[in-house]
């Protein structure tokens, strides 16, 4: 009886073994299905414009990838789906939708929303569920301070905005001494205001005015009057486009003058220049990307020019760094999946950590905290209502003009 039972068990095991051998592996099964990428987007509310920039380039990438048959996952092409929800610029809702995307829609990866604040919220959820998330519009290092193995950002740290700029401005204005800093009391604008202030002090400059203004401020007269009294050589203002337009106009109204006026990230955006007209001329800024660069690399856009021309043909306007960084995020994700040969979240996350690639947007290689490694970022200036790149020297297409 025992021997019959043993033989039966053996036969069953043999049959099972044959059956398992005939079946595709779990990885292969996974590769056969579409890859789902989740995206909580602020399509309505105050961040709607920025979210639309993300949506435009992600859909451009999606069309190109799927037209080519999909992403190559271990030799099999998988089509890609983008599952997106509007979180109405409400951080709490962004968290709820990130959770829904992971648990209900079963997305494989996430693309994070615009801004450091909302990125941090979504990244916390993604880390909890061990889902890789790529941030394309978050540059505050505080977002990346939680040692998450699943969060990677294409923007390099804010610090790259300050030191090269101070060095460049000192070369152009050797008498540069008195600096006034006015920043919006909000995650990214506050971090940049504090960053430039610290860097300027470290460089021996006299930061005689260093203040933040509250979100919702409708008048900068008091701050600007105080700045005017100090006769600044350099005025540095941070905020969102509507704040910067108002501040620049009030500077003109109140007669606040300086040879160098920097606004972050105003001149990087076309709407800033359109909203100010001639008042935008002379304003300097930093940007993480500009179309004057000429990078080559992996992905659906092999050169900066190919991305730029395709974008202009589609949108009838120039892309800014948000467009480029977010497009690069998708190129990065595709590259990581292809290198991993799998859509397993942990394997892709490991591949992301090992990234060392060149793209149309520039090099992408991550620091241990998941941020793209620091590099000298383009310093730009509006001249005749057009953006000129002043530095680094290998991509410059204009010389700095001091404001008279």
């Amino acid at each position: 009886m025992i021997s019959i039972s043993s033989k039966l068990s053996g036969a069953l095991l043999l049959a099972a073994g044959v059956a398992i051998g005939a079946l595709p592996s779990p990885d292969a099964l996974a590769q056969a299905r579409d890859i789902k990428i989740g995206a909580p987007l602020a399509l309505t509310g105050p961040l709607a414009d920025e979210a639309k920039k993300q949506e435009v380039v992600w859909k451009m990438w999606l069309e190109k990838v799927n037209a080519a048959g999909g992403i190559n996952v271990g030799g099999t092409k998988s089509k890609v789906q983008l599952v997106q929800y509007d979180y109405q610029s409400d951080g709490q809702r962004a968290a709820q939708l990130a959770e829904k995307l992971i648990t209900d829609d079963k997305v494989d990866f996430l693309l994070s929303p615009f801004g450091s604040g909302h990125t941090k919220i979504v990244a916390t959820i993604a880390t909890r569920y061990e889902t890789p998330v790529i941030a394309c519009a978050a540059s505050s290092e505080s977002v990346f301070d939680q040692s998450s193995k699943f969060l990677y950002g294409t923007l390099s740290p804010n610090v790259g905005l300050f030191t090269p700029m101070i060095k460049h401005f000192r070369e152009k204005l050797p008498s540069l001494k008195k600096v006034a800093v006015l920043g919006r009391d909000d995650v990214f604008p506050k971090a940049t205001a504090q960053g430039i202030s610290a860097a300027a002090k470290a460089a021996g400059l006299d930061v005689y005015y260093d203040q933040l203004y509250a979100v919702g401020t409708m008048d900068h007269s008091a701050s600007l009057s105080a700045i005017k009294r100090g006769n600044p050589d350099w005025v540095y203002v941070t905020g969102y486009t509507q704040d910067l337009i108002l501040a620049r106009k009030q500077m003109q109204d109140l007669g606040v003058k300086a040879p160098i006026i920097t606004m972050l990230a105003g001149p990087a955006y076309k709407e800033y220049i359109d909203g100010l007209g001639n008042l935008a001329n002379g304003i300097t800024s930093s940007s993480w990307w500009h179309q004057a660069t000429s990078y080559k690399g992996v992905g659906v856009w092999p050169t900066t020019e190919s991305f730029y021309s395709e974008f202009v043909a589609k949108e009838k306007s120039d892309p800014d760094y948000v467009h480029a960084s977010c497009a690069a995020a998708t190129v990065l994700l595709q590259d990581a999946i292809e290198r991993a040969g799998s859509i397993d979240k942990k394997k892709v996350s490991e591949a992301l950590a090992k990234t060392d690639i060149s793209t149309f947007y520039g090099p992408i290689k991550f620091s241990p905290n998941g941020m793209n490694q620091p590099r000298d970022l383009p310093i730009i200036q509006v001249q005749d209502k057009a953006v000129k790149v002043l530095a680094p020297s290998d991509i410059k297409n204009g010389d700095m003009a001091l404001i008279k």
Binding site: Y213, A214, S223, Q242, Q252, D253, L276, L279
Partner: protein
Amino acid sequence: MDYLQTLVNGIVLGTLYACLAVGFSLVWGVLNVINMLHGSLIIFGGYLTYFAWHSYGIHPLLALPAVSLLMFAIGYLTQLTMINRVVNQPVLTTLTLTFGLDLILYNFMTVYYTATPRRVTLDLGVVDLGGVVIPFDRLLGMALALILTGILYLMMKRSKIGRAIVAVRMDSAAAALMGIKVNSIYAITFGIGSLMAGATGAIFAMVYPVTTNLSGAYLGKAFVVCVVGGLGSVQGALVGGIVLGIIESFAGQFFGPQHALTVGFLLMLVLLVVRPTGLTGVKGYE
């Protein structure tokens, strides 16, 4: 001279605040409706003005009457067809309705116009009064704000419609018995509130960027001005606006711009405790 400049900055800013609050105050005082739509109506007026200037070259001052009348019609119809149905319900019901309408208008504008800040780039220069500088567009805004609130004040005091609005405000049942068509007066009142929002939008288009991002800031400011000045009166909105403007201006100078708004809100809280009828102490349009 610095203090004088700060004072002038505050007065000019305050009249702009009065301008944005007076329509809100009227609707709240007469209809007992907290009009959550008010900020978006100002923005909508701003967009109409901006596109009249941008697309057809119409100066904002010329566009202002047409924009205001159009906004009156929109407000009148909104009240007549929707808000009148619930106007006698508890204030939370009308607040919820106007909140819903605000979501629709706000998101319509964000989708249709995008939230991209736009500006009427006229840059009219400044007026220099012995070293005290006033931007001409703000001065124009201040003058228009004073004229509009003045007209509204006179209308409420002298015209038949104004007296009817006051009568409805005091006792709607008695007003109805006197032959006043209460629903029509409600609609006219809401229409005037919207007209003032539209006019404010036209003025603000010359001073501030036009973007839906500012809708909430305008609504919040209208709240504070009404509480500070006294709810439901033209003079209350004017006094509240100017006081708030001056306080924010000096607070920005003494405590830093980060705390200017906080001081304004603190003033509101103090007044709610010690003088709930606001600085003017006037209740309604008597």
